[in-house]
């Protein structure tokens, strides 16, 4: 099931602009390898889940996957062939706001080769350009 918040203060949010780079959540913290976004964008909950499934199917019981993003933002849309006006549309799906540098997923407990293959499978599903990164000790 796709991720979504349990409780929210407001059902709808303004679109906003994604400005600047990620200054938090831009280091591999939990695992040894990670997938880092190089572009800004919205990552829908269904896409996050699709990536998680793709990685789990490859990893099976080996290793551990960490999902580092959560869809906090509701995205609204209005039905087709609707006349202008009548206010903002209804929430359609939830998305995570991704800034360049954000770590999207992390992997632990597998070799680098396996992590590269796994994250490459996952990268195909991402709507933003991503790159493979390793944990840094210094």
């Amino acid at each position: 099931m796709a991720l979504m918040p349990k409780r929210v203060k407001h059902r709808k949010s303004q679109r906003g602009r994604i400005r600047g780079d990620a200054t938090r959540g831009n280091r591999v913290v939990f695992g040894e390898f990670g997938l880092q976004a190089e572009q800004p964008g919205w990552l829908p909950a269904a896409t996050i889940e699709a990536g998680r499934i793709a990685a789990q199917q490859y990893l099976r019981t080996e290793g551990r996957l960490f999902v580092r993003v959560f869809p906090h933002k509701s995205i609204t849309s209005i039905p087709l062939e609707t006349r202008m006006g009548k206010g903002k549309g209804e929430p359609e799906y939830w998305a995570a706001v991704v800034k360049p540098g954000t770590i999207l997923y992390e992997i632990a407990g597998v070799t680098e080769e396996a992590a590269r293959v796994c994250l490459a499978r996952l990268a195909h599903k991402m709507p933003v350009r991503v790159r493979f990164v390793k944990r840094r000790s210094m």
């Binding site: 349990k6 409780r7 831009n26 040894e32 880092q36 290793g63 540098g101 407990g109 790159r131 990164v133």
Partner: protein
């Protein structure tokens, strides 16, 4: 391992000057410690990157200052590709220093072959040792780790003269059974609860009734 680093003194400081330096391919740095004055420095980016790549904790500074120094802290850009600042602290070989050393798993874990998941809980460990004896890594031997077992900090082999700075009973590596996820709730909520909406609606209804 120690690399030598050719550095120049910085005459002016501040974020704008640092940005100018970075555009010229230099990395701003600072040298302090031993009760002496702080010295603002700058080093070529390639040399700093090479020292990091070699895993050098102690570097021999040359040029504007001639001393051996410990890399205390490094700042990286958003993508973690280019160093943007380095903190050096003056050390002599016999000085005892506090450092964080990464942990490396060694051996083939029998618990993993039996279907367990090996998780490295503690990626780095803080130790106190002499500056000339900082280990690159500490090895955690997982050759005898079975499912349900764990390697704790006190099980690690430390270099001679090194002292632990963390709780000795802390778990470093554990081997656990994979958690079987419970079946997902059939009735998935379509929308999240809106905080305070019910109370407001009730208030409106009451007003309308009056």
């Amino acid at each position: 391992m120690s690399d030598s680093l050719e550095c120049v003194a910085r005459t002016s400081t501040g974020s704008r000057e640092s940005r100018r330096l970075r555009r010229q391919g230099m990395v701003p740095a600072i040298l302090y410690g031993h009760g002496e004055a702080c010295v603002p420095l700058a080093a070529p980016r390639e040399a700093v990157a090479a020292a990091v790549r070699h895993g050098s904790r102690i570097v021999e500074l040359k040029g504007a200052v001639k001393t051996s120094a410990l890399v205390r802290e490094m700042q990286w850009d958003t993508f973690g590709v280019e160093p943007i600042h380095v903190d050096f602290v003056r050390v002599s070989a016999s000085d005892r220093v506090h450092v964080k050393v990464p942990i490396d798993l060694k051996g083939e874990c029998p618990g993993q072959r039996a279907g367990g998941i090996v998780s490295l809980v503690l990626h780095e460990i803080a130790i106190e040792c002499t500056a000339d004896a900082i280990p690159d890594k500490l090895h955690a031997m997982v050759g005898h780790l079975e499912v349900g077992g764990a390697i704790k900090v006190h099980d690690l082999e430390l270099p001679k003269g090194a002292k632990l700075l963390v709780d000795a009973d802390e778990v470093v590596v554990s081997c656990t059974k994979p958690i079987e996820k419970a079946a997902e709730a059939a009735a998935a909520t379509a929308e999240p609860e809106v905080i305070g909406r019910k109370a407001a609606e009730e208030g409106e209804k009451a007003e309308a009734g009056e």
